[in-house]
Amino acid sequence: MYNFEFEKPSTVADAVSALGGEDAQALGGGQTLIPTLKQRLAAPSTLVSLGGIPDIQGVCIEDDGSVAIGGATIHATVASEAAGSYPALAALAGQIGDPAVRNRGTIGGSLANNDPAACYPAGALGSGATIITNTRQIAADDFFEGLFSTALEEGEIITTVNFPVPQAASYQKFLQPASRFALVGVYLARFADGVRVAVTGASEDGVFRWSEAEEALNKEFRQDALTGLSINPANMIADLHGSKAYRAHLVSVMTKRAIEACM
């Protein structure tokens, strides 16, 4: 680790101004950033912790029934506090990492990081969530821009993530055996006006929506709706833990299981 300054503001405005400094970086739970620093792969001059800002923590239900989660809310809080209002999302949060990770890592950090194998990006894209920052609102469909890249500007902070609650939803995560991130994860949400299927872990371009599956399910939400559909393996990730063909196959299996869970 290189030396850095540390700030822990208590308001979003102070955090934004601290992040205006040269090479300043936001610190959520540090579950991704701290290991990176320890390996000397990043050298921020200042770390601005978002952990001391009460305004961006916690889970609440908005007037329109949507679930709003503060950007600095840890996974464990979502797992317990969203269990009644949005069980599929709470279940997703409850399957991230281990208890230590869940009690440190935050939803904002996970979305901002956009790891291609992370769970929350699938939850947000699958739910059609809105990512609210200190300056604007970004639809999930416009937020994820490929591996480790998002629509966030330098110094922009995720303050809230707003999830419309579907009639039924399920997250099916197939574990990468070592990291236990998603080797493939499928988040399926069934709304009155349509089905959304978001896939993580699989694609070289990061989280994506499987539109053919959505179309088929919109025609008829049936267990065998996917018959004849498959994902083109060409853009899938190939690594030690699975070939392109295996990941493409798992996308179908996990989607099928998500459908079953939503029947």
Binding site: A178, L240, S243, L250, V253
Partner: protein, 786 residues
Amino acid sequence: MPKDSGIGASSKRREDVRFLTGAGNYTDDINVHGQAYVHFLRSDIAHGRIKSIDTSAAEAMPGVVKVFTGKDFEGVGGMPCGWEVTDKHGAPMQEPPHPILAQGKVRHVGDPIAAVVADSLEQARDAAEAIDLDIEVLPAVMNMKTAAQDGATLVHDDLKNNICYDWQLGETDDAKVDEVFANAAHVTTLDLVNNRLVANPMEPRVAVGEYKPGTGDYTLFTTSQNPHVIRLLMCAFVLGLPEHKVRVVAPDVGGGFGTKIFHYAEEAFCTFAAKACNRPVKWTSSRSEAFMSDAHGRDHVSKIELALDADNNFIGLRTNTYANLGAYLSTFSSSVPTWLHGTLMAGNYKTPVIQVNVKAMFTNTVPVDAYRGAGRPEATYQLERVVDKAARELGVDPIALRRQNFITQFPYDTPVALTYDTGDYNGTMDKLEVAADLAGFAARRAESEANGKLRGLGINCYIEACGIAPSNIVGMLGARAGLYDAATVRVNATGSISVMVGAHSHGQGHETAFPQVVADMIGIDESMVEIVHGDTSKIPFGMGTYGSRSLAVCGSAMVKATEKVIEKAKKIAAHLLEAAEADIELKDGQFSVAGTDKSVAWGDVTLTAYVPHNYPLEVEPGLEETAFYDPANFTYPAGAYACEVEVDPETGQVTVEAFNAADDFGNIVNPMIVDGQVHGGIGQGIGQALLENCAYDEKGQLLSASFMDYAMPRADDVPFYGVDHSSQTPCTHNPLGVKGCGEAGAIGSPPAVVNAVLDALNSGGKAVDHIDMPMSPSRVWAAMNS
């Protein structure tokens, strides 16, 4: 009735209290006043020629004490190999130099190039970044088979090729072996890989070197399984120091699994640098460094052929193995694919003709050495996989095929150099069939199938050779060390006992089990006995702990020393009781005169030994005895394992549903500790079979260089184990009749898991012959769909 103390009691592990409450004293807990920290600059290139190293900028950085490179070690020895293997043509193995810091070339990712000693670790790291390296990248030698070909790129330019040795054991006449196979009714052939593993003990390696200019004494604190071996190797072969000026301390050690047996460059470096810098020097490995500098395990590529006659008797076995040694010879690396592997190829079977062929290869990878089981898992895996495959090909019951070929007469001379003293392989198989409820398997399979899963049952037998010995034989086989052990039993005046042992406990529970033996022999409470280990300034010269040897070898020395103590104490008791020595009996801590009610307590005798007022003149005062013990033979634990798995046919995911082990460990001192050793070993075996994979790419980059990609088994990857060790054939040649239990689980379990997965797939109509470990979901799925 289970005993509540002494031999046979499941005494609770007394050391666990300090381990579990954070009160242990590990090497990283040791900080010496004024210490500096070393950071090693390690190669990120697998194979390259060092053109230049410029350390001038680094030397000028804040806090830097000194920067070392290979040049600083030109007059110093390299890391030695402790076993010289002679190849099949009678030539000694090729033994390239292994410098403390790279000289001329870097040979694996992680090879240390320079070392920066600084006031703080961060300053050392900063300065290391300022070292200017010019390294010409050379093609990496990664594939063992191509590395063996003429004209292959050489890992070591001064060697004639990349083959360390081409070794053979068993039948030397190729024509005779060919004839056996030509006349066979059936031949089963299997190509397989024993996957490379990283031991990953919870505690990474640490070394603290200290030098006292006033006396010229060195102290090395290190995470070692065998402090005396480290002292001998470092003093005699590397640094040229007199042993009496060097103390090596291995305090609490957080797991070893073999990888902390070896003498590592970092240990010699810290000792050397402590004098060169005139400051204590400390190194603590990061987990990332551990992945690329701790010796790895396994990594064999083998072809095995089994010949059977028309009645399904095994009539011949031939193996051809490429064994990866990595870039340099680690301390005992050369012995693993040879004397710890080839000798085990008979397994539990009376196969009359066996030929084992091993080519040991240098490659641009981390050195490979002993890892829990060391050679014996590699042997067992080949044998038990080919036997299982033969059963499937012949359509016979795999248990019946094994039973039919079991060795049943003991002692038994194998065709591969061992003499099994005793055993009862049908006995452990009988226990297993009951414990694992094999009769109920069909019903369990039907239930799994009703849930859309495939269920498989895998059986495996193993034999291992533990407590490698005797010294005169292993010396003939090339060992450059003795393999005895030693113990000193020091009785204190008030009767409590300190036992200084050469074995080292790093998770095994010696601190509990060893006192059980001594207390039982005398008839006193276990709490009156304590062992001392891990410090060359306190203990006699013993060889440490590995190869399941501690109780069988060091425990035997301890028994001998205790016998000497009792013999002397009886003389004192006879004097006090005014009786003949021959009439004195010791029971429950009381010396009594046979046939009388006259007695004297243990504590009165021990006090008399140190306050010899009323004392036999011909007897020396004091009560302390040392014994060295060199075993007559190996011990041969053996057993039978059963694994049941479910396979998800949609994803290839394997789950272990049940695992039962029936082991014959001879006599047992602490059944709970033995169960725990088997549990841990099976956990590691399941890890190897399903999860762990140390993988390199073709450029020699380590792909599984962290826990993000190297899958360790976790609690939810393993089932509750059933362990039965009631089948006991005590070892015939050591005083306790014990055999050793530390490695059995890791040896016996991988083939059971693999056999179970293949059984599941075949039951589902997939004719899959073999899948290499680890049987990850993607590999199982690929095999099902090929």
